[in-house]
């Protein structure tokens, strides 16, 4: 990359835009997955562990087979297994879904580190990027608009989910189960089965988000691969009011916040690196404080969700 200062401070917003697109993709997938799960009335905090495991298995399969897309597929399968496990164990009485999520976070991360040791050295093929910046002669613009296919798939899923929740039978079933177990039972639905499947789909999407991390950006499997994306996505879903399109926009915002530090660094601002690194967490916290309320329940919140009760 040429000297970013060549286009002056324009480099900063450009780098933030490019960074937002790159950094937001895992957020999009995890938050969409969590939206499905939470809409069905469960919360899965274990997505952080699922994401790390997805990153590991995606990378490992890509190394072994040479195909990054097979890696993404393997991650989705593994993620849905984690989701099924969470969904199954939470159906027992007195088992707390939040606590199980914390346990699965540790378990998933532990398993990923356990099996991931041999894959820290090998190099896996990356997921392809689509150069949407071909029209520009500026390398910065080209770099910013090198968009990964998964980002575009994420947008499609966001719109599809938004439509499906409103217009399809499956969408309605998930929403009914999430709003009232009793109403769902009265309709002859089994809330546990619906939640089981919703958690499985959520886990699959979260693991794809993890595979993106290891197979595209930052693009290698390390034990520090996740910086809490799986967990921030849970907060992001609340901020987005369980709306898939809102998740997409919120993910872009978070991605931008995460890209702030590196973008400023690229134009020579090196002070306060760690503080900029913390920007997404601070932003999440501020948003949570601003949007929560002590007295009224959140608009759009599924009635059966333990976290908003």
């Amino acid at each position: 990359m040429s000297d970013p200062t060549a286009i002056g401070l324009w480099g900063v917003p450009l780098a933030i835009l490019g960074g937002a697109i790159r950094v937001s993709t895992p957020f999009i997938f995890v938050s969409l997955g969590e939206t499905i799960t939470e809409r069905s009335g469960r919360i899965n905090l274990g997505l952080e562990g699922t994401l790390v495991f997805g990153a590991m298995i995606g990378y490992a399969i890509a190394v072994i087979t040479g195909s990054p897309w097979l890696g993404v597929g393997a991650a989705a399968v593994a993620g849905s297994c984690f989701g099924l496990f969470h969904g199954w164990i939470c159906k027992f009485p007195k088992v707390n879904d939040i606590a199980i999520g914390i346990a699965l976070m540790q378990f998933g991360t532990g398993l990923a580190f356990f099996f991931g040791k041999p894959f820290i050295q090998p190099v896996a093929p990356h997921l392809p990027a689509i150069p949407l910046g071909w029209w520009s002669s500026l390398p910065q613009v080209r770099a910013a608009l090198d968009v990964n296919a998964l980002f575009l798939i994420g947008i499609v899923i966001a719109f599809a989910l938004h439509w499906a929740f409103k217009n399809t039978k499956v969408g309605l079933i998930v929403r009914v189960v999430g709003d009232s177990s009793d109403a769902a039972r009265a309709m002859g639905l089994n809330p546990n089965t619906v939640r089981l499947l919703a958690t499985a789909v959520g886990g699959a999407l979260a693991a794809i988000g993890g595979a993106y991390l290891s197979l595209y950006y930052p693009g290698a499997w390390t034990e520090q691969i996740s910086s809490g994306q799986g967990l921030m996505a849970v907060a992001l879903v609340i901020f987005a009011r369980w709306n898939p399109l809102g998740c997409f926009l919120a993910a872009l915002l978070f991605g931008g916040a995460g890209a702030l530090g590196p973008a400023l660094q690229s134009v020579g601002v090196t002070q306060g690196y760690y503080l900029f690194y913390a920007a997404p967490y601070v932003l999440t916290l501020i948003i949570m404080i601003a949007t929560s309320s002590r007295t009224r329940s959140l608009t759009g919140a599924p009635g059966e969700l333990s976290i908003t009760k």
Partner: protein
Amino acid sequence: MADTTPDVIAAASAPARAGYGAFVEQVARKSEAIVIPVGAVIVGLAIYSVFLLCLGKSPLDFLSLMYRGGFGSSFSIDNSLTRASPLLLTALCVALPARLGLVVIGGEGALVLGGVAAAAAGVPLLGQPYPVVIGAMAVAGALTGAIWIGIIGALRHYRGVNETISSLLMAYIGIALMNQLVEGPLRDPASLNKPSTYSIGDAYMIPNIPGMDVHWGLVVGIIACIACWFLIEKTTWGFAARISGGNVRAAQIQGLAVGRLIVGFTALAGGFAGLAGMIEVAAVQGNANASLAAGYGYTGILVAFLARHNPLAIIPVAILLGGIDASGGLLQRRMDLPDAAVLVLEGLLFIVILFSDTLYGRFKLFNPDLWERNRT
């Protein structure tokens, strides 16, 4: 987590009985709280053994090495106890709010910031008498931790912010803040490879317990656990906390200041985590550096859940987990297992113990109420 309420209800609804029968009933009730967690740990180990067998490793070797690495020699016992000492305090950081029904899992943030605050308070005072320096460090560490986690409690009560997520976010922020401070304003320019604050010097370090290679922090942790048990089980505040943990509405109707309880308990909890950070600085590291974020805050979550948020049970569980952690190195060398083998085992135990929550009140042996039902 309202662990105590079923007991209370059961005790109240059971028909009064005198003499031998009452004693048997009491033993049956009490033993449920021991047999189920111990059984869960055994089941967890059994599942883990299957996992090892699938990988072609011997579970017996694993268990015996874990025993040797954790408790097999005086050296390994000292090592386990040293690791257990911060766990005692970080587990309290989870257990105290849990008695109020809050899942606070951000002890790591309070620990690292407590450590940094302790170093920042101690270094300018060097040269003063020992109790002044150590006292100032302890107050600074505990106060910082108390504010950090107390904020989470306040946000929960006054703004309705979910405490689980906010505490974990605050942990990330706390670690970033620690890195910034240690590499920036508080850095000792002489620390080249590993940025750290100025050291407090050997003269001001917390010494070892006589006859052992374990620092006094262990005793502090054990006393803290006993004091917390007393607070929760034997004082009015603890009783009030248990009531609002069981049912917030009921507590409010009784006129309990739930807000003050929540902020007070979370602040106290954070104070313990901050104190753990101070002890790590004053007894182990000698200064504040990135090694403070060693995961004690996260292992503390597991300890608290395994102990079912009972401060007395935290003591043996923390020592057990300290032993498991301490055996990691030996397992790595002897069995060629990655260091994450211990993480997997801990995650598995965590899941099994949470799953075992569903078993309470199901076994006839432990539930005299069910005996009655059969007789009639």
